[in-house]
């Protein structure tokens, strides 16, 4: 077991945000945490990455309790997380300060290539589109070779076409690098497109409502019967009739 959530609860003042979350994530697994706004899913990710301390319970990675942030587990924000004063190269190499220069260069080049930003190495974030900024942030996270990635609605600020492209990019990268991924989203379609398992949380306080395994091989056909069935199952789980 890579990541184990054991009875994780959280409260902010009098507000109970998370209630006894239990979840096991295996090595190399892609897990989406899905829930309505304010259900505490981002809080859960912040606890897992060590930025917040849970009110009760604990999270263990490889059997070791998480007590703070660690560069083996990188948190990816929406595009605003990259440093505007650094170039694409500077951002991707940000976490590589203790590597020798040659190794640093090689890693940067590798990840620039992996996320498809060749030719933009010297560009500043303000010169990039939203999707490109997000690629920079993913590359910056991958460059330090973490074993877990936490993604907090990483494509939330992108337009719908770019979002679709970024999802398939992320899957390609995940298949190449085999990281364990915890991906928070409120987008049902997104979760069914990406995840091995979708963890559906309830409204606040967040509890695990159901865990839905997505037993479709990649690349996924978004009009296949199985895809639509799983998607509608989750829609139903959240209490939404799939009609407008």
């Amino acid at each position: 077991m890579k990541v184990r959530f054991h009875d994780v609860s959280m409260r902010f003042g009098d507000v109970e945000v998370l209630d006894a979350i239990n979840l096991d994530v295996s090595e190399g697994e892609f897990v989406c945490i899905l829930g309505p706004s304010g259900c505490g899913k981002s809080t859960l990710l912040n606890i897992a990455s060590g930025f917040l301390e849970p009110a009760a319970g604990e999270i263990a990675i490889d059997g070791v309790r998480v007590v703070g942030p660690d560069r083996r587990r990188i948190f990816v924000f929406q595009e605003r997380g990259i440093f505007p004063w650094l170039t694409v190269e500077g951002n991707i190499g940000f976490g590589l300060f203790d590597l020798p220069e040659s190794e640093r260069r090689a890693r940067i080049a590798h990840y620039v290539q992996l996320v498809g930003l060749r030719g933009f190495e010297r560009a500043y974030p303000r010169e990039l589109s939203g999707g490109m900024k997000q690629r920079v942030e993913v590359a910056r996270a991958l460059a330090v070779n973490p074993d877990v990635l936490y993604l907090d609605e990483p494509f939330g600020a992108l337009d719908s076409i770019t979002r679709l492209q970024m999802r398939s990019e992320l899957l390609r990268i995940w298949q190449a690098e085999r990281k364990t991924i915890l991906f928070v989203t409120h987008d049902i379609e997104e979760s069914v497109q990406l995840a091995d398992r979708v963890v559906v949380l309830t409204a606040r306080p967040g509890r695990v409502r159901r865990v839905v395994p997505i037993d479709i091989a990649h690349p996924r056909d978004l009009s296949s019967v199985r895809y639509l069935a799983l998607r509608d199952e989750i829609f139903g789980e959240i209490g939404l009739a799939h009609k407008i």
């Binding site: 990455s49 930025f51 942030p69 660690d70 560069r71 587990r73 990188i74 948190f75 924000f77 605003r80 997380g81 440093f83 505007p84 004063w85 650094l86 940000f94 976490g95 300060f97 500043y124 303000r126 330090v144």
Partner: protein
Amino acid sequence: MIGRSRIQHSTFNIQHSAYPIATAAIVILIWSVSVRLTGTRIFPSPTAVAKGIAQLAQRGHLWSYTVDSLARVAAGYVAAIIVGIPLGFLLGWYAPLARAVNPLIQMLRPISPLAWMPLAVIWFGIGNAAPIFLIFIASLFPIVIAAANGVRNIPPMFLQAGRNFGLSTPQLMLRVVAPAALARIAVGLRIAFGVAWLVLVAAEMIAVDSGLGYLIIDARNAGKRYDLVIGGMLLIGILGLILDTLLRRGEAWLSERR
């Protein structure tokens, strides 16, 4: 579209240089005519001021006074940067410290730097230290406040990312906090310089016998040389404009990199 924007650009450039020159010419003309029409014997004409400045240049005072003034402003200003930026960082970083110290800063800040003059003379006596101290006090507050605000307003995710990649607190300061706060600090530095330059004249009216501020007060006291009073004012204004322009350029360059 390209052609159009080029035309606009060149129009803008003409406005940029020609209009201010025209304005200056008109002001000098009005000044000259008014002096002649009123027949004043106190207020000098533009030519008299120009002659006065030329005379200063001949005696070597123009250069030495300017250098002395610049050196004093530089000393006080640089000292304020050296003290102010770390102090601002501390206040921006440690919220409890800011809460404890802020009322004191907000109380001291509205006191005109000139109110420190008697104390400056008591503490530092006659010489360069007193005016440098006044310039230091004047430019310190804008720098401290800008640095503290710059640090306090850093988006939390930058700090979080820095921590996540394993930076120690000093590394975080150097690699995240400083660059993230830089643009705001640059604005504070420019404001502080404006205040420092403003205080210069008054600062040089005490404790020293050189500099552009001294020139003004000395010209008035020794022989009512109003041509030199006006000349000194113009020199201070022109130098201030040049230095402010340079700082603005620096600021624009910094914010462009963001």
